[in-house]
Point group: C2
Chain length 209, copies 2
Amino acid sequence: MKKENISDAVIRRLPRYYRQLTELCARGVVRISSHSLGQEMNITASQIRQDLSCFGEFGQQGYGYNAEELRAEIGHILGVDKNHHLIMIGVGNLGRALLHNFPFSQTGFSADAAFDISPAAIGTSINGVPIYSMEALEGYLRSHSVDVVVLTVPQSIAQETADRLVRLGVRGFWNFTNVELSSSVPEVQFENIHFADSLLTLSYRIANR
Amino acid sequence: MKKENISDAVIRRLPRYYRQLTELCARGVVRISSHSLGQEMNITASQIRQDLSCFGEFGQQGYGYNAEELRAEIGHILGVDKNHHLIMIGVGNLGRALLHNFPFSQTGFSADAAFDISPAAIGTSINGVPIYSMEALEGYLRSHSVDVVVLTVPQSIAQETADRLVRLGVRGFWNFTNVELSSSVPEVQFENIHFADSLLTLSYRIANR
DNA sequence: TAGATTGTTAATCGATTAACAATC
DNA sequence: TAGATTGTTAATCGATTAACAATC
C-alpha cells in the first residue's frame, strides 16, 4: 500500500539500497530476498519490506526480488533516470574536485555550467563544464532551466547567494557552505553537507566508544 | 541525570548546537533560553533540554544558559579542545581541497601527514602537511599516534586500505570513498560522507516536494 | 504440492513533546 | 517576591520489528 508521507529516514535509506543492489548486480546476483539483502546491509528484512511498500510492490511471494528490476525501480524513485540540470556557484578547490570526480550523470544530473568571481577562472572550463562570471547568472537562468545549484561559495556570502538564486527560480540546493541556509519560499529544498558536523560526531565517538 | 547510552540522533544534533552557539556568541549574545535557541534552530525547547540533560546540567532556572559557557561545554563533549591526530590517505582533488580549506584545528584535529602513490606528490607538502609514499605508512604509524584517518582513495582499494590501517591500530575513519566499509574489530568507528547518497535524496525531494 | 517469501497488520520499542515541580 | 526557566518525569507520537495470512 503506497504511502502519502514518506519519512526522511526511509528516503535516506533508498540510496543505500540502490548502492547495494548495484553491487549485487555487478556480482551477477539475479535474485535476492529481503532476508539476505538485510543480512548484507545490517538491516532487518522487515524494514526493507516496509520501506519498499511505501512505493509499490516489487517482489514476488516465494521468490523474493529480481535484483536488476528492484535496482531499476529504486533508481527510478530516486530519479537517476531523470535528466536534472545542475550548475555550480563557486569554483574553489572543493568545486573543482566535484567537477573532476563526482559522477553527476550516474545520479541523473547534467552539470551544465559553473560560476565564479575569479577572472583567471572565468572563460575556462573544468572537465567540459564552462565557467562564467557571477554577473552572467541572471542571463543564464533566464534562458536555461536549472533544478539544482551546488553551493561552494565562502560562508560570508552563502545566504545572500542562495536568496539571489531563489529569486531567480532555483528550488534545489546542494549546500557545501557549512552555513544553515533557509528560505521563505516553502518548496525550496536544501541538502547540506556539513563536513565539520560529520568529523565532530566521529570525534565524539572515538572518545566515547 | 546523565545517560549511559546516547542515541545517534542526539550526537548528530550536538554539532548543530555548537555551530548555533558559536554564531550567537559572535553576535554578542550572552544569555539564551532553550526556548529562544529552539526558535532559532527550528527545534523544540524540550528537545534541547532533553539532549543537554544527557551530559549534565548546564543551565540555571529562571535564567537560561550562558551562551559562551554552553558553547564551551558542548565543544568539550565533542572534543574540540582535544588535540586529535589525523592523517590523510589519498591526495587527489578532494584530499587537496580538504587540506586547503577544512578547519581541522578548530575541530580539535591536527593534520599531521598525508600519503599517496603519486611520485609527483610524494615529498611535497600541501598547506604545511607533508606527503609521504604509501610504503612509509607502516613506519609512520609505528612512531606516531593517529586517531583518525581521512580516506580519500579510489573505491577499488578502499576496503583493503582500511583493513591495512586497522591492523596498524587505527580506530577512526573519516570515509569519503563512497564505499560501505566495515571491520571485524568492533571498536573501529567509520564516519561516512556519501556525496551521491546526499544528492540522490535531494533528487527525490525536488521531484516529490 | 510443499516451501519460501512476500505485503501488511499488529506489537514493541525508542524518540520527541508536553507538563510541572523545583528554584534561581 | 513574582516571573521565568530549568531538569525531569509522564504522555504522545512515530519508527522499527515481529507475526502471519496470502500466494507464487
